[in-house]
């Protein structure tokens, strides 16, 4: 079993200490633990947005601080709980996010595939501006998926969806990631989701 991510003696803000853990390649790993134990902070550390106060994170056996931070974030994409979309249409959002990454736009067909995975029942030319929180969350997830990362970090990806929709979207996402060899690390408060879909569950205690 290949190890994709390994964390050793990791601390954040000198107040959160993480237990050592490994995340196997191409697996679906759920993180859980009490509020304030540093789950979201951990995802930011793995994505290179935050620098740990101690310890290290290895990605494919390489310390992430030795990697170019932009390359790291393109390999390890983080979709946080707060959704950001540009004003305008769904296709416009796909285009703009990819422009910022200086990559070519996804084709209409690919865009539609990703929208179907995330159960988005709109045309690509529909405006996102007046959509509900759950609809915007699904578009955001589809855009994150379009970045084609090696590792996808999701922080409460279904928090604005009802239970049935959350299961559908999560099931589709996981199926897509498995078929595209993407490792997933997911924070979810929904124990049923983690029990249903996790290959592995890491419990964080957030010792001080």
């Amino acid at each position: 079993m290949n190890v994709k991510i390994k964390a050793e003696n990791l601390c954040a803000f000198s107040t959160i200490r993480y237990t050592n853990f490994t995340i196997p390649a191409e697996k679906i790993v759920f993180l859980n633990g009490p509020s304030g134990c540093g789950k979201s902070t951990l995802l930011k550390i793995i994505n290179g947005r935050l620098i740990p106060s101690a310890g290290q994170v290895l990605l494919d056996n390489q310390d992430i601080v030795t990697l170019n931070p932009i390359t790291l974030r393109r390999r390890v994409v983080l979709a946080e709980q707060s959704v950001y979309l540009f004003r305008g249409t769904i296709s416009g959002n796909f285009r703009r996010f990819r422009q910022y990454r200086e990559t070519t736009a996804v084709s209409q067909e690919q865009c539609q595939v990703l929208m179907d995975i995330c159960s988005i029942p709109f045309t690509q030319e529909e405006s996102c501006d007046a959509m509900s929180g759950g609809e915007r969350q699904r578009i955001f997830l589809a855009i994150a998926l379009s970045m084609a990362p090696e590792v996808l970090l999701l922080d409460e990806p279904t928090s604005a969806m009802d239970s049935a929709l959350a299961h559908t979207v999560m099931g589709n996402l996981i199926q897509y990631c498995r078929s595209h060899h993407i490792t997933m690390v997911i924070i979810s408060h929904d124990l049923e989701l983690s029990n249903t879909y996790a290959d592995e569950i890491i419990r964080l205690e957030g010792k001080v």
Binding site: L50, P69, S82, Y84, F97, R101, A144
Partner: protein
């Protein structure tokens, strides 16, 4: 045309009576800034009296050192005002502001004096009042541009963080904020150019006409100065923001808000 009429001190003092009207309106409207009115009037009076005597001295004893010292004091004061109104600026950003404002202001001033009015760049009669206009406007533009830049970054924090999470370069993320701030800083000057001569006769032109300059000459100075101000403002704001935004992220591509 005759020169400007002399004002006696006794007559001059009457102008302060107008402030009583302002004070009255403020009282009626319960505006609690009457202290500021006194402070502002007093500071203006003292500062201008000092400036008048200093300028009299410099004009009587023209010396490049005095002219440069006066201009450097203006730049230092303008930079200080910008920095004190934008406490979020880091040290490198502050130097960028000082550098670009000085460089753009002085070089455009030199261009104006040497090629348009054919005067020595150290001639205090030209260099000092024109510098005042240039750096005063640059200061206002910088304040507006920096405020807009910082406020937009704050209100679009989620956008910035999301784009970072997705692997966008900080440069790609922040450049649109630079462009928007520059546009905001330039708009008041461009709008005043649109209304100039119709809505109002600008201060410099009014001063020249009062002192006996032909209006046809005064407008040439005014037009030239407006273009000078617009150019310096554009270069100062663009230069400061363009050099400054690069100081807002580190080599780990983390943006400091």
């Amino acid at each position: 045309m005759s020169g400007v009429a002399d004002i006696t001190i006794a007559n001059f003092m009457l102008i302060y009576l107008l402030l009583l009207i302002v004070l009255g309106v403020m009282k009626v409207c319960n505006i609690s800034q009457t202290n500021l009115l006194f402070m502002a009037s007093l500071r203006m009076t003292i500062q201008l009296i000092i400036a008048g005597f200093v300028l009299m001295f410099i004009f009587k004893n023209p010396n490049p050192i005095f002219t440069m010292a006066y201009i450097i004091a203006m730049i230092a004061f303008a930079t200080h005002r910008v920095i004190s109104k934008n406490k979020w600026l880091n040290k490198s950003f502050r130097w960028a502001i000082f550098g670009t404002m000085s460089l753009s202001g002085l070089s455009v001033l030199a261009f104006f004096l040497l090629t348009i009015v054919h005067q020595n760049v150290f001639n205090p009669q030209y260099a000092i009042p024109l510098s005042g206009m240039i750096f005063g406007n640059a200061m206002t533009g910088l304040n507006l541009g920096l405020k807009t830049f910082h406020e937009n970054m704050g209100s679009e924090r989620l956008q910035i963080e999301t784009l970072l999470n997705f692997g966008a370069e900080p440069k790609q993320i922040l450049l649109p904020f630079v462009n928007r701030a520059l546009e905001t800083a330039l708009l008041p000057t461009l709008n005043s150019m649109v209304g100039m001569g119709i809505v109002a006769l600008p201060g410099m032109m009014t001063g020249q006409i009062l002192s006996g300059t032909l209006p046809t000459t005064a407008i040439l100075y005014q037009i030239a100065m407006m273009i000078v101000i617009c150019t310096v403002l554009c270069l100062s704001v663009f230069g400061s923001l363009y050099l400054g935004y690069k100081t807002l992220y580190n080599d780990r591509a983390q943006i400091m808000f």
